[in-house]
Amino acid sequence: MAECDAMNEQMPLLLTESLGREERERAHQHIENCAACAAEWKAYRATWSELGELPEVEVPARVKEQFLSTIGASRDSKVIPMRSRLAPGPRPSALPRWFAQAAAVVILVGGSYYAGNRTAPLRVLPSPATIQSVEQTPYSIAETRVLNASAISPNIEGRPNIQNVQFVDADASDNQIGVSFDVTSRVTVTGAPTDKSLVRLLSYVLERDNSTSPSRSNAIDWVRRTYSDPNHADPEIADALAKVLRNDTHEGVRIRAVETLKDMSPASSGTRDALIDALKNDPNPAVRIKALEALSNLAKAGTALDAKTIDTLRAKASQDDENPYVRVKAAELLSEIP
């Protein structure tokens, strides 16, 4: 019973992938053998998943305008080349006065943020690596199944609720990778990056609509490292990334997706369409800029941009209410097209 209580307290850590490998495996071993904890774990996962139903809300445009106005920077200042940091020029006239006022506020209130944290300067430890070796598994327990990708079906049935996804590349030279995850037990699927079962599994991880953002971000980073190699190029991976780019509510995830698409070649028409859609419709200008960079990469790699793409670029370059950076980037890309 005491073990169940301890296990219960560990479940949030399991959900956030914050447990070490040994603790995680021990936890799963217990959950598998304890009906009460298995039910509890199922409820935790359902709760975590339902929390994902809260949509992202867009920031009203007036907030940015007010911010830029407050600090004395106009929207147009974003496209003015920066002054050299070695030989800084004079600041805009409003700034020294504003800064003096700000300094006075700092002195008066003693600093808002750091005053409350003066004994703990903000230092963030590096994140733990997400790539772990199968060979170093300290436990050889029955609940961790290692399956070869060639032995399982590439058709994933029933939209399984997979959790705690981790990626494995024990030996970078052997062209074998692995994906570990929890389903009804801990499973590691290993195989070549080009193996269809692995490709489908990775695509599924990328596309799952109830995936937590950190898992999806990790998945995208890992896909980028693995599938940027032209020898591993697979259109299904590119399609999955394109869906993430179109559908994910987290802008950070969409940015990662477009950055990954940028590095993948050769680009399919689906990839190009997804980039165009992002450029036209994504609410976040950072994503739109990344989409432009990706299109620029395609053009430089010799991919001919079709009339639809060029029309979109022209529209963006001349759109009055578009972010100035997006407009400049679109114009630059148009000028690069022969």
């Binding site: 998943s49 809260l54 399984p160 609720n161």
Partner: protein
Amino acid sequence: MNHLSDQELMKIVQAGDYAPASEIYDRYSGRIYNFAFRFLKNAEAAEDATQEVFVRMIKYASQFQGDAKLSTWLFSITANWCRDYLRKSDNKAKEAEDVLLSLPASSEYSPERDLERRESELRVKRALGALTAEQREAILLSRYQGLSYAEIALIAGCSEGAVKTRVFRAMETLKKALTADVGGGGRWLNATR
């Protein structure tokens, strides 16, 4: 400027050039606003928080340490602002104003699916609203921002142990409030080819 890292942009700001302010805003305003909106449950206050966080970022740029993550620093400022806001008794009364505020229906889904999503959204909002401010802060940073417990501890000004406790208690409360049918399994893994 979008090719520069957060640290590089902040170095420019620290040197007195505010040209990167817009770029930094574009990178983080969505996360900051959503965090504040969910924490305070008040759209107007979330707008004020977002604007003030970026103004403070400029004001106190010199205090940003280059080896820290900008996101963590910005969330620290945001959380401080939000806590101050909630401390004021007048503001507590405003908390529930936006709880029932729903987003426009999305044409992306069928009417039935759209209704389901909106009901689910409402359930989640109510459940989050039942948490204490500390628990809500911890769960929002963990679940929606994907921050580690160490990062949340820095932001909340408490120990990692305290963060674990807050997340645990929050999850216990949320679990009671939310129920969902978890489907799927690993059947396909048993299908050989």
